[in-house]
């Protein structure tokens, strides 16, 4: 079966532009998580969804970051007015239920020039 799929695998954009990163979780997984990983750091929590609702968005760094999961499956992380400091690998993970084993995607490498 397919694992967690993230697209695109690489995204290069210019400072100030808007980007969308997509995550397709494992079918049937109710919990979906977004993490950000900067060079030399561990994954840093951004937001997680239980079904369609954002259960905890305390990790979003500011209001330029927003995420949705309208049908309880695919999720999109949206970043407005990108800044060079947003450059990182954005990881998505899903689990059958919250608190259970996380399955990670391969990540999207975002580069803001």
């Amino acid at each position: 079966g397919a694992g967690v799929s993230q697209t695109p695998s690489n995204k290069v954009t210019e400072k100030g532009k808007y980007v969308e990163l997509r995550c397709d979780p494992i079918s049937g997984h109710t919990a979906l998580y977004w993490y950000r990983q900067s060079l030399g750091q561990g994954p840093e929590f951004l937001i997680y969804f239980q079904g369609t609702g954002a259960a905890d968005d305390s990790g979003l760094p500011n209001d330029r970051f927003f995420a949705v999961r309208p049908e309880g499956s695919v999720s999109t992380l949206k970043i407005q007015r990108t800044e060079r400091g947003d450059s990182a690998v954005y990881l998505c993970a899903s689990s059958l239920r919250f608190g259970e084993k996380l399955f990670f995607g391969s990540g999207t490498q975002l580069s803001v020039l």
Binding site: Y33, G40, G42, P43, F45, G59, A93, F103, F104
Partner: protein, 109 residues
């Protein structure tokens, strides 16, 4: 706030030597601790969790609440163990995982 500290960025050992990857955490309640691993060109994946008390690929980790540690150990390192290892913590499964910065293990033949 919960915090996970992995003091070593890089650990190099010879094949067949014992390995210990250190992890300390700060939280006074009942944490659940995990080790995740990322092999070259692969995804981050769960290696083991303390509540299952199992040995995976020869690795074990014991939660020491007195020392607030969850060190990962293996008696005899193999070349295929070379990877990035991340220690992670959740509070009784009610909070998202908090990860440490990771330790790169390099096993030298």
């Amino acid at each position: 706030a919960q915090r996970v500290t992995q003091p070593e960025k890089l650990l190099s050992v010879f094949k067949g030597a014992p390995v210990e990857l250190k992890c300390n955490y700060s939280y006074s309640g009942s944490p659940e601790l995990f080790w995740y691993v990322q092999y070259s060109r692969q995804r981050l994946q769960l290696l083991l969790r303390h509540i299952s008390r199992e040995s995976i690929k020869g690795f074990t980790a014991d939660l020491n609440k007195g020392e607030t540690s969850f060190h990962l150990k293996k008696p005899f390192a193999q070349e295929e163990d070379s990877a990035m290892y991340y220690c992670a913590l959740t509070v009784s499964g009610n909070t998202p995982l908090v990860f440490g910065k990771g330790t790169r293990l390099s096993v030298i033949a």
